[in-house]
Symmetry: C2
Subunit: 383 residues, 2 copies
């Protein structure tokens, strides 16, 4: 039997290419082999010797656009891919960026260099920094955020908390990301009560605090759940792309009937950034990718809290929320995780005022005096 | 103002608990602190000193069920959680298992010890090993699997390949996981043509090869796409939980109108297993979790191919596909990734005959003689 594939394949391609920069931890010789390997692994996943001639090896296979030494035993390679291999869809774009190479150690995604044409396939953040500022009516200072917790409180108790935070003037009041649809605080009851409490407090104060419930519903009802939250009066949502899927977040952000701001939670995503040699950089994951899927505020664990991100990694994330990405708006870096009010001056120094500062458990210091603590939070921010 | 939370909280709980075993890389003193930290981090995420008394600290917070030294600077802690904290939903279960601790280095999920009541919330694999054997009409030998590739071929060429593989008697013919909805091979055309080709070959041979197209559609249409594939004559699907979301896979597996076997691809999941100190074990991720979401055959990169899994890690995965998990059926470990036909005896020795062996690019050796290579594959399996 003759070989079944044609000798030459002609594929209609635009010639537009985008780039992904990978860091490779290896000797120069190995790094060069790895770079070439990525070109094949992320596209044809096929032995070079068996490829038919023509457009497949010439254009479909990734191409090394640059290769440079950036440190001892560390190289950066920029690989360009034909836009068409992504099908202009997020799932396949993620697959091209990091699908199979995620399984190869010592390869790390550093930066996305998406082409304008590819970026045009995404709407990006519906609100971004300026849109979110408009919603809460805060023009220049940093925004304040807190979380309703602990898990185990009843919906009524969580609503009392939500009302108190709104009365205290906190801008964004989100569910803790562990609040789902649990028997001790059923989702519908919680969202309805908390939204009511925040609305009532806003009516009294004239402010515009937003209540953002956690969306964790099963895949078949997640969009319905988000719309239901809006129906109950929620003014935004919290969602974890690692749990609900990156594309579910993108879908919600592009849904013009939904049209509420989206805050992302890093739950289940930590393994991507655990190792400096593998995974995805803080910059690309919590900055660029969150913007690509339409997140307006990207939560990540701040340095010096209960987690292990360094100050530099946090700065990288902030850079990724604003780096040029065509028409995609800048979004808010949202550091949290064990933050206390006394650290606010230091955080403002690092992040500037284009930041959402998330203080959760720390709002219960001082005997749980929510109004007093909220006032302190706002004073610290204003300072 | 008085503290806003009641002094004592009573929460209605069944008393049923499940366990997750984590490996901790640290000194004994640090590991004990980390274990306690996980109990709080994965549930209330709240400072212990501020918790109201009663059921929240007594039952909602995780509990250390066992703690033991398993190696130098390595400990295993089994933590039990109240079933109710999961809301009996996958997204929140994943969040409890590894949500926030994914962001803490030196913590690794080793094993899931799900309670019967919690397992009852999941249907698990619809086919499993025995169901998939019935579909392909193969009672005892290992199953054969190959992939349609390379990306860049037209739908017509891919269909020629699919027909040849079916004629050659390959049991499972899947799309390469990089085939999405690209202009050079549009999804609908490809799935229709490939399904037709496999059906025609089956009609001639009397065999039951299954064509399993890759499902990568956007979140808002992914279920529709899977049903469409079935309408076109696909007899199973390939899907990557890391790209489409774990819960999307679970939803499909529980959809009784869909009711086709599901093969999972490890794309984008590699970072969970890159470090032996962090992430999720091979056993739990590619074995237990894939079963929990209803996968029937779990693809992973075999040792000695283009990837870096060790022989022991591959054996662990195989163990995870069959370990007791209540009513959840055993599924097929499906090693692949740079496999060649000459390695089959060695693989059968490791995995036994309850395995799906995936040979992709290797089927194009020997001048691309598909029929001849398929015959060799079957002979090697039979031996």
């Amino acid at each position: 039997m003759l070989p079944i594939m044609p000798e030459t394949i002609h594929v209609p391609l635009s010639g537009n290419r985008f780039t992904i920069t990978y860091a490779l931890n290896a000797s120069e010789e190995d790094a060069k082999l790895m770079a070439k390997g990525i070109c094949f692994e992320q596209t044809v996943e096929f032995p070079e010797k068996h490829l038919p001639k023509g457009d497949i090896p010439d254009h479909i296979v990734g191409q090394i656009a640059s290769f440079e030494k950036v440190g001892e035993h560390r190289f950066e390679v920029e690989i360009s891919y034909a836009e068409e291999v992504t099908g202009y869809e997020l799932t396949q774009l993620l697959n091209v960026i990091f699908g199979n190479v995620s399984i190869q150690p010592n390869v790390r995604v550093q930066r996305l260099g998406l082409s304008q044409n590819l970026l045009n396939a995404f709407s990006g953040p519906r609100f971004g920094r300026s849109g979110l500022r408009e919603l809460v009516g805060v023009q220049s200072r940093a925004l304040t955020c807190t979380a309703l917790k602990p898990m185990g409180l009843s919906a009524a108790n969580l609503a009392r908390l939500a009302g108190a935070f709104a009365e205290g003037g906190i801008d964004l009041i989100k569910d803790d990301h562990g609040l789902a649809d649990q028997p001790f605080s059923p989702w519908k009851e919680r969202v309805r009560r908390c939204a009511d409490a925040v609305r009532e407090a806003n009516a009294k104060s004239g402010r515009h605090s937003l209540y953002m419930p956690n969306i964790t519903g099963p895949a078949e009802v997640v969009f319905e759940q988000a719309h239901e939250a809006k129906g109950f009066g929620a003014q935004g949502i919290l969602i974890a792309p690692g749990l609900s899927g990156f594309d579910a977040v993108r879908t919600l952000s592009e849904d013009s009937d939904f049209a509420l701001p989206i805050m992302s939670h890093p739950s289940f995503l930590g393994s991507f950034v655990t190792s400096p040699a593998s995974g995805i950089s803080h910059f690309a994951l919590f900055g660029q990718l969150m913007r690509l899927i339409g997140v307006d505020a990207s939560i990540f664990p701040n340095y010096g809290g209960r987690f292990s991100f360094s100050k530099d990694e946090c700065r990288d994330i902030a850079d990724g929320t604003v780096v040029e990405m065509g028409q995609l708006q800048p979004i808010f870096p949202t550091p949290g995780g064990g933050m206390t009010l006394d650290r606010i001056p230091e955080l403002l120094e690092l992040y500037g005022s284009d930041v959402v500062l998330l203080v959760g458990g720390g709002m219960f210091d001082n005997g749980g005096r929510i109004l007093e603590n909220s006032k302190k939070f706002l004073e610290a921010i204003a300072y």
